[in-house]
Symmetry: C2
Subunit: 363 residues, 2 copies
């Protein structure tokens, strides 16, 4: 029911923003700024969670776990393998490679600004990052740890980690648990916001965007894109049917690269809820850093941002974007390329194993 | 012939150091320091190569390439996948995982201080890091790039990289070549030395080591370990038969973990030269950071440093190390755990791909 409402809200949103868009057409920079401030929001430095407060100790520990391949059975795959912070929190692959080179069914979404999303995973099946972080570790085609106890045993076997968990979770009777592992990773991820020039503009700097970029923003608004791609993340808050006007697989078929895995038709959120209204419903991705998070869509089938934008206009809005508008939108997208926080790029030296650390396995 | 000589030199070295060792037994710290200064050397900050001078621009570029998974066909494997700087330049796996989860035949040696080695790879088949760096990129079970031209095409398709190559190789007619890719990576690796407390001691600080650590150093010298594990890297300069007194596979058999790949008996350098004198000859590894570069030996068959040390004493020297001596040596090894240079741990944000960048492939 909640999702049906979401889809409805999304549809209404498109209509509402089309109306606002028309009103805002050719607006002066000041007016455009006010319109943008109403539709979007600047990125916060941290996205806190009262149930898992972001502390310095937890972030430092979470960063270690994020980069630690020992959270996989093989000792080869870390969170960063598929959400590589050197490449804007993605692997730039159609779909990800996991344990024993298994190919996942969906494209790795960026971890950058993900804390702002209303739900996690392409189908929104996790409520927040704390819940999300528990998934891949145990997924047999991702990190393939056999069970929660094994993950805890691996981490708790390293005295360096135990100290850090005690500092990060000072009130916990048992500091190293499967939940605290995920909570620490999520706390780190809650600091991964990437302020960019569009934020400067939203904060009031009228000179932050060039005239072509301003035009692109105007075009973006005029087409109604912000109906789903609004808010601070320019996306992430709405679950919507991919293919409102036309089936997406018709529009993307020609773009599918030969190296994409052969996938069963992805039914989206329907697989989670079995609700027919959720057929082909996916979470709208964030457009922050969209110039760097290729290839696009839940199946990573499209490499070019122009193609992806054209496909969205076609299957969601039934429109075709002419070259001038497209060029302006591409210029606007550039302003969404932000700065990855320095602390996240400081690779941690990981704690030493001990004689009791469960060994890596390729089974 | 050169290797036969190396083995001979190694054998003589063991005898020579046994003699010095006896003379140095129970020496006062000052005397021990002088003995150590004659056998070892402090780590330099950079190991330059006149044929590939280490410049700031080349190091910065080389670091990007080192961390870039696009130097593999799949887009998933980087130099750092198997020589992870978060875990002291190794993957802590018996043998490494490569393209399509192929298991390599040998353990990944650490990249830290590798520039000090007289040759590269376990069998010494590459003269230096510049030559070494050309190997894994094209190896079908490592990074699996189909040919040199493909690697150049991938990198040269990214304008961000082309700019950096022009800055790093200002006099080159064609800045991006397969050789310049490897040269840049090698230049970065030439900065990866890890000064530790043993360096402080070699530099003259008598208080740098505890009395137990000093005792361990003395024991290390007394047993003749420095015969092969001498110099600045405590190893890396000598090719020697693994199993001078007893076959190594007899001594290591009980330690082989069930997850080690089934390997044909590794004949060592013999596979390179076909010279019977090179049978079971391997490059002596460096003992810098040895507490962190488990599992040990060319086949990664042994996880415990005590076990590995006992096996070396048995198969190379025909001796057994009693518990007190072993405890002291373990304390000494701790002093070889050094500091990874800060610039190496600063993860670079990698250049953007372009429409012409060859796509990743899982073939």
């Amino acid at each position: 029911m909640k999702v049906v409402l979401s889809v409805l809200v999304a549809a209404l949103g498109v209509i509402a923003f089309l109306v606002i868009g028309v009103a805002a057409q050719d607006a002066a920079p000041t007016q455009l700024q006010q319109t943008a401030q109403a539709m979007f929001a600047p990125l916060p430095a941290v996205v806190d969670n009262p149930d898992n407060p972001v502390t310095e100790e937890k972030v430092e520990l979470g960063k270690m776990l994020y980069y630690d391949p020992r959270l996989s059975l093989s000792g080869f795959v870390s969170c960063n393998s598929c959400h590589n912070l050197a490449t804007y929190g993605v692997d730039n692959l159609p779909t990800s490679i996991g344990h024993r080179w298994a190919l996942g069914p969906r494209n790795s979404p960026t971890v950058l600004n993900a804390a702002l999303h209303a739900s996690q995973f392409w189908d929104g099946r996790a409520a927040d990052l704390e819940e999300q972080a528990q998934g891949p570790i145990l997924n047999p085609i991702e990190m393939a740890i056999p069970n929660e106890g094994f993950a805890v045993e691996r981490i708790a076997s390293m005295p360096g980690y135990v100290d850090l968990f005690e500092q990060a979770f000072p009130d916990a009777a048992e500091p190293v648990t499967y939940v605290s592992i995920a909570d620490a990773i999520a706390a780190f991820e809650r600091t991964l916001t990437t302020p960019d020039r569009f934020d400067d503009f939203l904060h009031g700097d009228l000179d932050a965007l060039s005239s072509e970029e301003l035009e692109g923003l105007q075009v973006f608004i005029n087409y109604g894109c912000a109906g789903c791609h609004g808010g601070a993340a320019l996306g992430g808050s709405v679950l919507a049917r991919f293919g409102m006007v036309e089936a997406y697989w018709e529009a993307t078929r020609e773009f599918v690269t030969i190296d994409s895995p052969t996938m069963p038709m992805d039914v989206g959120r329907f697989a989670v809820t079995q609700n027919p209204a959720d057929l082909y419903v996916f979470k709208t991705p964030s457009l922050r850093n969209i110039t760097r998070t290729y290839p696009y869509f839940h199946d990573g089938s499209v490499w070019s941002l122009e193609d992806a934008t054209q496909i969205m206009a076609r299957v969601q809005l039934g429109r075709e974007i002419p070259p001038d508008d497209m060029a302006a939108m591409m210029a606007f997208y550039q302003t969404l390329e932000g700065e990855i926080p320095a602390h996240a790029l400081q690779l941690p030296v990981l704690p030493a194993q001990s004689d009791t650390t469960p060994r890596p396995s390729n089974r």
